[in-house]
């Protein structure tokens, strides 16, 4: 044993998050996500007629009343494809990327510890999930308030809400979307332990996202739908009623937790016994 037995186990997570945000790729993805609310807000602002009720993406008709709803609309628009793509890149790269660079062997002999490294990698992928949906939310709030101001908006239930409530509601939608991505990140972590090619893992995660959504649209597979990690991805509507209906939100939390537990265990099972030959 080393003479100094004090441990500094937390340093690796700090380092991991720093490395994540030192990459141009991370910032490029966040910038790309930020363009969605900007594009939407600018297009609505420049069009001569405001979008009518039910036209275009959900709540688009509300953004002229309260600009903060740009954030909600943008989150809803990015959830099926754009957001999960960025999560696929980050989570697919976790282990496979290190293996590809060859740095995995040096982290392991440091020694980082295989379980510790896996947990740190997953937590940093979760940090990116928060950063990604947070970017859409904040940019949406900013550009929406700037272009449309913040007034009263009408909810799906017909109630009108003020600015404070609009902030809470859009935060809730942001939280829901973030939680939706946590299960996907766990799937990505597992796939990442299977290969030394980061790009391959990223592509596989992205393909899975699309396959799950396609399966979710096939009525013949209705029995399978509640088990798909994409099942609640667009179940945000209940958060925009008064009073809020929490059913799908909590169901989603449980579903994502199950995915994290299952694929986390698979990832550990695979990674703890893997021969690191890269």
């Amino acid at each position: 044993m080393p003479a100094d037995t004090r441990t500094h186990g937390g340093a690796l997570l700090g380092s991991e998050v720093r490395v994540l945000f030192r990459r141009w790729r991370t910032w490029a993805m966040l910038a790309a996500l930020a363009t969605i609310p900007i594009l939407m807000a600018v297009v609505v602002r420049l069009s001569s007629e405001p979008p009518g009720p039910g036209e275009g993406p959900p709540f688009l008709d509300q953004v002229t009343n309260n600009g903060m709803f740009v954030a909600v609309t943008a989150l809803v628009v990015t959830t099926p494809l754009f957001l999960p793509l960025t999560i696929a890149v980050v989570s697919g790269d976790t282990i496979a990327g290190e293996a590809g660079l060859g740095t995995l062997r040096y982290l392991l002999v440091a020694p980082a510890g295989r379980l510790r490294l896996l947990v740190v990698k997953y937590v940093s992928a979760c940090v990116f999930c928060v950063a990604a949906s947070g970017t859409v939310l904040l940019v949406g709030w900013g550009i929406g308030s700037a272009l449309f101001g913040t007034g009263e908006a009408t909810l799906l239930s017909g109630d009108t809400i003020g600015v404070g409530d609009a902030v809470v509601r859009s935060l809730l939608v942001g939280a829901h979307v973030t939680i939706c991505m946590l299960g996907l990140a766990a799937v990505g972590l597992f796939i990442s332990t299977l290969t030394d090619a980061g790009v391959g893992a990223m592509a596989a995660v992205a393909v899975l996202t699309i396959v799950a959504q396609v399966l979710g649209q096939l009525e013949q597979l209705a029995w399978l739908h509640p088990w798909l990690f994409t099942h609640h991805w667009l179940s945000f509507a209940d958060l925009l009623r008064a009073p809020i209906v929490w059913t799908s939100f909590t169901e989603n939390v449980l579903l994502q937790a199950a995915y994290v537990a299952f694929f986390g265990a698979l990832a550990y099972g695979r990674f703890s016994t893997k021969d690191v030959l890269s």
Binding site: D4, H8, A11, V19, L107, V109, P111
Partner: protein, 338 residues
């Protein structure tokens, strides 16, 4: 195979206490499918030694190192690293081990110093309070202080190699495992690495250095082992390894045939046939003959040759070079890949 037996016996005679071994393996085996990369090797690396782990490319050196460091699981046999069982007690051994494995690897978008900080933060026994200081010291030791803030992608191959060695020196180590540390280095860089290894060894660190180029490490090693197609064919101190070869008498003379005849009279069998004595030729030839330990003294051989009229231009009694020994053991040139 007889060679291994002989050397193993010698090791037994030396009676090395297992606790004095930095690396000890028993029948260590690693198979990939049907291919046996490492075949039942018994390594014994004494603490405080500079141990050359030699063998042609593809002879199983890197695989052995990966198994020793817990990166790959052994198929059979057992291993101990600094007295700790591999892989169950690796977490206790690894903080005291610095390693360069199959070439350096870095995050290209981080600077040299940031790469070292990153690896240091993965070691939970490394104190963050002294991190910057230790990173600066490690960079200084390998002569990279000027490039500390440069992105790793802008490093040359030689600089990356040195940065890899710096990473292995981040904290005080009991064992340094260097896999082909001179790869990609120019002769000057190779000399620098050798002197760095000497300095580290002088501090009491055991250095386990693998190479396919014997000449690059032979002069700094105290011990060596030779791998060939996954098996250990020789192991021991450098003197042991040299000593197991018979002495050779080497004479250069214009009177080759006369010399051979005279050597035969002394009981030494020159390599090549002993021919008739012919007119002395002007061309010089080299005559070699193995000299048994109970053979005539060197001065008596020279005297006898001169009396017989052999014009001796040079005379030498020599043990075969390590290079010759290793080529004999591996049955091929040192550079040859399997």
């Amino acid at each position: 195979m007889t060679e291994t037996a002989t050397l193993a016996d010698e090791a037994d005679e030396a009676d090395i206490d297992p606790a004095d071994l930095a690396i000890a393996t028993t029948g260590l085996t690693k198979r990939f499918g049907h291919q046996t990369a490492v075949n039942g090797i018994d390594l014994a690396v004494p603490r405080g030694s500079v141990f050359g782990f030699l063998g042609p490319n593809g002879s199983g050196k890197t695989t052995t190192i990966r198994v020793l460091l817990g990166l790959a699981a052994a198929t059979g046999g057992s291993a101990r690293l600094l007295g700790h069982d591999v892989p169950t007690e690796l977490a206790q051994a690894l903080p005291r081990v610095g390693a360069l494995i199959e070439g350096p690897a870095f995050y290209p978008f981080l600077s040299g110093a940031d790469n070292l900080r990153r690896l240091d933060s993965a070691d939970r026994y490394a104190d963050p309070a002294t991190r910057d200081q230790r990173v600066a010291r490690a960079l200084e030791r390998v002569g990279l202080t000027h490039a500390a803030k440069k992105k790793a992608r802008a490093y040359s191959l030689g600089m990356k190699q040195r940065l890899g060695i710096a990473a292995a020196l981040l904290t005080p180590r009991d064992l340094l495992v260097l896999d082909e540390p001179t790869n990609g280095l120019d002769p000057q860089g190779t000399r620098e690495v050798r002197s760095l290894i000497r300095a580290v060894a002088a501090e009491g660190t055991t250095v386990f250095v693998s190479s396919h180029l014997l000449a690059e490490v032979a002069q700094i090693c105290t011990h060596a082992a030779v791998m060939h197609v996954g098996s250990l064919v020789a192991q021991g101190s450098l003197d042991d390894l040299r000593g197991t070869g018979a002495r050779v008498v080497r004479i250069t003379t214009p009177d080759g045939d006369l010399c051979r005849v005279e050597l035969a009279r002394l009981g030494l069998e020159a390599t090549g046939p002993v021919g008739e004595v012919t007119e002395p030729t002007t061309d010089e030839v080299a005559v070699e003959a193995p000299l048994a330990d109970d053979g005539p003294a060197a001065e008596d051989i020279v005297a006898a040759l001169v009396r017989a009229g052999v014009r001796v231009r040079s005379f030498d009694v020599d043990r075969p070079s390590l290079e010759d020994r290793f080529v004999a053991l591996t049955g091929e040139g040192f550079d040859v890949a399997r």
